[in-house]
């Protein structure tokens, strides 16, 4: 199901970040970050490691607690006291660098756990939906395999199916291919392209510049905790004005 099928205005912003700040002790990792992600849009955040891009992503579902600022997802404020975080997180999918599949559950079990316990589906409904999403990532045949029986790429595709099955407003991808062998990266990126084609709103932190160029609607370049530049892939990754970005691109090519 795509986002627009759920009957929301496609003009509505899916994720809105205003004045986000984050400090770890005395270290300031994010400073006054602002970001708008529209429904159905794929925004890719790039930048060197330590630039705060993962932290920024993790603030969106509050796996990291923002120190300052406001974040809205699907019109609801995520930040602030007294929000029903679990209900909100259900609407925010996440795909992890370390994949984090549940090792004691099958691929299907990984996808259906939250469908059963959070969305409250019956076992039959959850299994049906879980299988459908495993098909979507090309792993219908592997429903009964355990994570340890799957390749890294297959595991990450299950991770994506797990996030998608809850039909969230947005999926956050935190360096989804960084832990994979190079030859397994392609299959995961293909599934992400597929996810975008289905109309899913995506915020992606990645080092895959080709993916950013080809798939992103917008690219955000972060450096030392601030958004240095934001624009089309063309503007940021092909002909960047900012010298810092040019330097970054030269280094990633080598």
């Amino acid at each position: 199901m795509t986002v627009s099928e759920r009957g929301r205005s496609t003009l509505e912003d899916s994720v809105v970040i205003r004045g986000l700040g984050k400090t770890f002790g005395s270290v300031e990792v994010l400073r006054n970050v602002n970001l708008d992600v529209k429904k159905g849009e794929a925004v890719v955040i790039v930048g060197s490691s330590g630039s705060g891009k993962s932290t920024c992503l993790r603030c969106i579902n509050r796996l990291e607690e923002p120190t300052e600022g406001h974040i809205f997802v699907g019109g609801h404020e995520v930040t602030g006291k007294g929000v029903d975080l679990n209900a909100l997180r259900r609407r925010i999918g996440m795909v992890f660098q370390s994949i984090n599949l549940y090792p004691h559950k099958t691929a299907l079990g990984n996808v259906t756990l939250a469908l059963r316990k959070v969305a409250g589906l019956s076992k039959a409904e959850a299994n049906e939906k879980g299988r459908r999403h495993l098909e979507l990532v090309g792993l219908g045949q592997k429903a009964d395999s355990y994570p340890a029986q799957l390749s890294g790429g297959q595991q990450q595709r299950v991770g994506i199916a797990r996030a998608m099955a809850l039909e969230p407003d947005v999926i956050l991808f935190d360096e989804p291919t960084s832990a994979l062998d190079p030859e397994l990266v392609g299959e995961v990126l293909n599934v992400m392209v597929r996810t975008k084609e289905l109309g899913m709103t995506m915020v992606v932190v990645t080092h895959e510049m080709q993916f950013a160029r080809e798939v992103a609607d917008r690219v955000v370049f972060m450096d030392h905790g601030v958004v240095l530049a934001e624009g089309t892939p063309e503007e940021i990754l092909v002909a960047p004005e900012h010298p810092r970005i040019r330097e970054f691109l030269t280094r990633t090519k080598s």
Partner: protein, 223 residues
């Protein structure tokens, strides 16, 4: 050789004592099972409470664990039987023994479960929480199943070790297997009774060890 057989394997001599031995054996079984069935779940419960991180409670828990892991079981049994009556709690010898052993086992198994919980990757919690599961659900459906699997071997060791402490019940006159067999030994001046006792302990604990090996196999997820 003859002497060894005469002293340690004179089974006809035991004929009159079989009912006593059997009764002792049943009491040992009963106490062992109760110790495990109370001690291990109690340990799990304490580990879970500790996880919620309520500071004054955790200080208490850590004191409990350290205290009961350090104190000799024998002392604890004696205290449970002879000291608790002064606080208005009069326990049967068997109850006092089981209570003391179960508490010790709970302290050790808490540490085992706690180590297991600590070793589950942070990403497992994050994955669960990111799908909207709350803390308790993430614990119950994602973390604990993994913890229980990895805790089975060390728990088995502890459970067997502490269950063998049921023999200490003799200090408060529990007619358990070793108590019965060693009195028979004195009565007939022949240690065959102890041989019988040892064999019966094997009969009790070997299936237990086999059972937990089986559990380990069934619970092991493919890797």
């Amino acid at each position: 050789m003859d002497q060894i057989i005469r002293y340690f394997f004179d089974f006809p001599l035991m004929a009159a004592y079989w009912p006593d031995i059997l009764r002792g054996f049943l009491i040992t079984i009963q106490m062992s099972i109760l110790t495990v069935v109370i001690g291990i779940p109690l340990g799990l419960l304490i580990a879970i409470v500790r996880l919620y991180g309520i500071r004054p409670l955790n200080i208490l828990i850590i004191f409990y664990i350290d205290f009961f892991r350090s104190i000799p079981q024998l002392v604890l049994i004696v205290l449970a039987y002879f000291a608790l009556p002064y606080f208005g709690l009069v326990l049967e010898p068997i109850t006092a023994t089981v209570m003391a052993l179960a508490i010790v086992l709970s302290a050790f198994s808490e540490e085992i479960f706690w180590a297991g919980i600590s070793s589950v990757a942070k990403g497992q919690w994050e994955a669960g929480r990111s799908t909207g599961l709350n803390f308790t659900q993430t614990l119950a459906y994602i973390v604990l199943p993994q913890v229980v699997r990895m805790s089975i071997p060390p728990l088995t060791n502890r459970a067997i070790g502490i269950s063998k402490g049921t023999t200490l019940g003799s200090v408060v006159a529990v007619p358990e297997l070793l108590n019965v067999t060693s009195s028979i030994q004195s009565n007939v001046a022949n240690p065959t009774a102890l041989t019988v006792g040892a064999l019966l302990f094997l009969v009790l604990f070997l299936p237990f060890v086999r059972f937990t090996r089986w559990l380990e196999r069934v619970y092991a997820h493919p890797r």
